[in-house]
């Protein structure tokens, strides 16, 4: 039989995008488990619906674009984006929120730019940002653990809430059920001229570090994030950069005035900081590509997130910080290049070919 003769290398590690995405999903499991423990079925329903809608939209888009459906549908990237989107949305939100979010995530932010690998912006964050700006009420209606458990919170009631907005008996419970997130509450309190300590002690939604339940959730995501670094799916540069950014800037302001600026520990364990550091900002397609540039990228996300949280109009700035830095990523990549073997500096030399 004729011998095949491609050029070297004739060896491969059998890595694949599907394997990478599977590891990311596995790393999210501890966080999702803790999240569901504290917040009930709403979390899992969000995740399931988001995944379903995302895969359907992806299939439709690939069909319209006449691209091969099977490899792209099975690569797992749509699933990961859907999961991240669903984790950012309050549990017990109506189902159509997820539909619109999935549409913007998959169709607008990803497929319209060329599909996997070509999107300049983090798809999950685009979906979240569109929803946050368009539906502020639904998107800021978070629940608190000990409050939900006072209501019927089994699966059928939850499904009923999500799909019809009312419990099975017909009572509309969303107003009683939902309230602002811990970050949101703190912000409002600070605006009302209370100090951080007053805010944290008077409201019963706060735990030791962040909100009740939120600290454990963030810690669980931290475990998942460290797992990802261990498995070499992501590198330490973006998470460490981002956490360093948040810690440094919050520490500076905490030193200046601890009455009006929350402590670094609070910022680390509230909201989506840990999820953002290990799962959202590390989305490889939209982040910087070289490790030195990634540290700066992560650091600036941290600074921006703190800035938006403290002085901006939204309680949690991770999404917008990530989107803003997505814009800056190519520039950072161009100017920050690692030093090549045999050269003294990163960027400068243009190399002529050898004769």
């Amino acid at each position: 039989m004729p011998l095949s003769a491609p050029t070297s290398p004739h060896n491969h590690s059998n890595a694949s995008i599907t394997k990478v995405m599977l590891q990311v999903i596995i790393a999210m499991i501890p966080g999702i488990a803790v999240y569901s423990y504290f917040f009930g079925w709403g979390v899992l329903i969000n995740l399931t619906l988001a995944t379903l809608f995302a895969l359907i939209f992806e299939m439709l888009a690939l069909k319209v674009r006449q691209r091969p459906i099977k490899p792209f549908l099975l690569d797992g990237s749509a699933v990961v984006s859907a999961l991240l989107l669903a984790l950012a949305i309050p549990p017990y939100t109506p189902w159509w929120i997820l539909l619109i979010g999935a549409f913007f995530t998959i169709i607008v932010a990803k497929q319209l730019f060329g599909g996997l690998g070509y999107n300049p912006f983090n798809p999950a964050m685009i979906g979240y940002a569109v929803l946050l700006i368009s539906f502020p009420v639904e998107m800021t209606s978070w629940v608190v653990p000990h409050v939900i458990f006072n209501f019927p919170h089994d699966l059928s009631n939850t499904l009923s809430l999500v799909f019809s907005g009312a419990l099975i008996g017909g009572e509309s419970a969303l107003d009683a059920l939902t309230m602002a997130s811990p970050l949101d509450t703190l912000k409002t309190q600070l605006r009302l001229e209370h100090t951080v300590q007053e805010a944290l002690s008077t409201n019963d939604i706060f735990g030791t570090f962040g909100g009740i339940g939120w600290e454990s959730i963030n810690f669980a995501f931290l475990v998942g994030g460290v797992w990802l670094i261990y498995k070499r799916i992501i590198t330490w540069h973006i998470p460490v950069g981002m956490l360093a950014g948040i810690i440094i800037i919050s520490f500076v302001f905490y030193l200046i005035d601890s009455n009006h600026y929350a402590s670094p520990m609070y910022h680390l364990f509230a909201g989506a900081t840990i999820l953002g550091a290990f799962f959202i900002a590390t989305d490889p397609i939209t982040a910087c590509t070289s490790n030195p540039a990634r540290i700066v990228y992560g650091f600036l996300i941290g600074i921006l997130a703190y800035t938006i949280r403290t002085w901006g109009g939204y309680p949690d700035g991770i999404a917008f910080a990530v989107l803003l830095m997505n814009m800056a990523a190519p520039t950072l990549d161009y100017y920050i290049q690692p030093r090549v073997f045999g050269y003294k500096h990163g960027r400068k030399h243009k190399h002529r070919p050898k004769k």
């Binding site: 004739h10 694949s16 690998g117 090549v340 070919p353």
Partner: protein, 520 residues
């Protein structure tokens, strides 16, 4: 043991060494026909000095070196030259090249050999000549004529001689077996090279997966204070020269530089043994150990092979299932190249013949888009940004690719090994390099064309100017002549007038008052 510096990147592919490392080196009968390409080294091809029908003896030179960077070729056994023609040679292009074909007579008669008992009486340049005339080239795979490396150049001092016994590519075990069976000859060869180079110290680098080889070599250098063994952590591409120099000395060979620029000379461990045989026994380079392995082979092993032996001969000796061979590679799976015919000959740089079925080859699949994960940059031993090089090569933005140091890529294959999208990265870089070379050629050509055009213009202008000048001169000459003629005419006319007048005067005898006014 020496301190080892780490180098950036690298991969750990499955090694596949046990298939062949646990068996002794086999010898095979002399094949009926040997095919000797005249170009088995870096540099200019050798020129045949034998004729068809001529009888040759073992070790006789059959092709002489041409130019400085070149090496001669010797007959691996006695026989008759049956042809000097183009045959398919082991090369990525699969093209044919000039070969000397010998029909062996089985007698294995040696040519006269010049043994040297004490090489220290010789000047290093004489040693280099012996090594050159023995056709010794780098046996690690590059095939650079060794005698050139043994002359570091005026003013250059060799701090460290590194002997490369790393053998980091999967499957290959020929150097491992050589170290375990010929350790004494290797050390003697190293001493000869040290004498020629006046190196201050010598380090023998061996990967730590070869514990037996390390032990053998260590035993033989017990009494040599200047020679040490360095145990290199098993990793691909630890045996790549620049990475090895970094591991042992901590220094990086500067861009566009050579090992000697950091005071190092590197030699493959098999080359050192060949040097010993050449100097002490007068034997030219006519054989080497070849690892014949791969899952299409039932009895993989190392074989002491005569240069020029067809691959098919060795494959039949190792019970290969030819119908199942999907790919036949010369070298290892990371940097070896595929050959398309079973009858290509073993050359001096053939360290391994790898015959694989589809079961052990990576599945050919369409590449997915790049997800910018950066795994390639993590694996690159040169700290390049393979993903950037890929985008620029794909978009034909060759200037940007050069800015990202495309030509520093050593094409080791670590990047495409780890790529989750299965992108054929190394192929893109080869394409980009090729395009840039073509552009350079075209630029040079157009430079020359432009120079010639300008010279031609100058010449044309000059000729034109000359012609114009000539015309002008002619014109001027004609003018002058005309004026002269006119003047003559005038003068003549004047004279005639005067004569006529004088005549009239004579005829009329009128006296003339020269001061009177003339009425004309």
């Amino acid at each position: 043991m020496l301190k080892i510096w780490p180098f950036h990147g690298g991969i750990h592919p499955p090694q596949h060494k046990e298939e062949t490392s646990q068996k002794p080196v086999a010898t095979v009968k002399i094949p009926p026909q040997l095919i000797l390409p005249v170009h088995q080294h870096i540099g200019q091809s050798a020129t045949p000095i034998v004729k068809i029908g001529e009888k040759v003896l073992k070790g006789q030179m059959i092709a002489k070196a041409e130019g400085f960077v070149s090496a001669p070729v010797h007959a691996p056994t006695s026989g008759i030259v049956s042809a000097i023609e183009n045959r398919v040679v082991p090369h990525p292009s699969g093209l044919k090249a000039l070969c000397i074909v010998i029909e062996t007579d089985g007698k294995d008669q040696w040519h006269k050999l010049d043994k040297i008992n004490d090489y220290t009486v010789l000047d290093p340049s004489e040693l280099r000549n012996i090594i050159r005339n023995s056709g010794i080239v780098g046996l690690g795979g590059a095939g650079f004529p060794s005698f050139i490396k043994l002359n570091p150049g005026p003013g250059k001092c060799v701090e460290t001689l590194i002997i490369n016994g790393v053998e980091c590519e999967p499957f290959i075990t020929c150097d491992d077996l050589l170290m375990r069976t010929q350790a004494e000859e290797i050390i003697e060869g190293i001493k000869i090279i040290q004498y020629a180079l006046k190196a201050k110290k010598c380090v023998i680098a061996i990967e730590d997966n070869k514990a037996e080889a390390i032990a053998h070599i260590q035993k033989n250098i017990e009494n040599e204070p200047d020679i040490q063994v360095a145990s290199i952590p098993t990793q691909y591409p630890a045996g790549s020269e620049k990475q090895l120099i970094q591991s042992i000395t901590g220094k990086e060979v500067p861009k566009d530089g050579l090992a000697i620029h950091v005071g190092v000379i590197g030699q493959n461990i098999a080359t050192t043994r060949a040097v010993y045989r050449a100097v002490a026994y007068g034997e030219p380079l006519i054989s080497r150990i070849v690892t014949v392995t791969g899952d299409a082979i039932n009895q993989p092993q190392n074989i002491d092979t005569l240069v020029g032996t067809p691959f098919s001969y060795l494959l039949s000796e190792t019970d290969a299932v030819l119908e199942q061979v999907e790919r036949l590679t010369m070298g290892g799976p990371m940097m070896g190249f595929s050959v398309t015919e079973f009858d290509v000959p073993v050359i001096k740089t053939t360290n391994c013949i790898l015959a694989q079925t589809t079961a052990t080859l990576p599945v050919q699949q369409t590449a997915m888009p790049c997800i910018r994960c950066g795994a390639c940059a993590e694996a690159c031993p040169v700290s390049l940004l393979p993903q950037q090089l890929y985008w620029y090569a794909r978009a034909d933005e060759l200037d940007r690719a050069q800015e990202h140091k495309l030509f520093d890529c050593i094409e080791c294959g670590c990047c495409s090994y780890v790529c989750p999208s299965h992108i054929p990265l190394v192929q893109y870089y080869r394409y980009a390099k090729g395009q840039i070379w073509i552009k350079e050629q075209e630029r040079k050509k157009s430079d020359i064309a432009r120079q010639r055009h300008e010279a031609r213009q100058i010449r044309i202008d000059r000729e034109k100017a000359e012609r114009t000048a000539k015309r002008n001169r002619k014109k001027a000459a004609m003018q002058a002549k005309k004026i002269a003629n006119n003047a003559q005419e005038q003068a003549k006319k004047q004279r005639e007038k005067v004569q006529a007048f004088a005549q009239t005067v004579n005829n009329s005898q009128i006296s003339i008052d020269p001061n009177a006014e003339t009425k004309e």
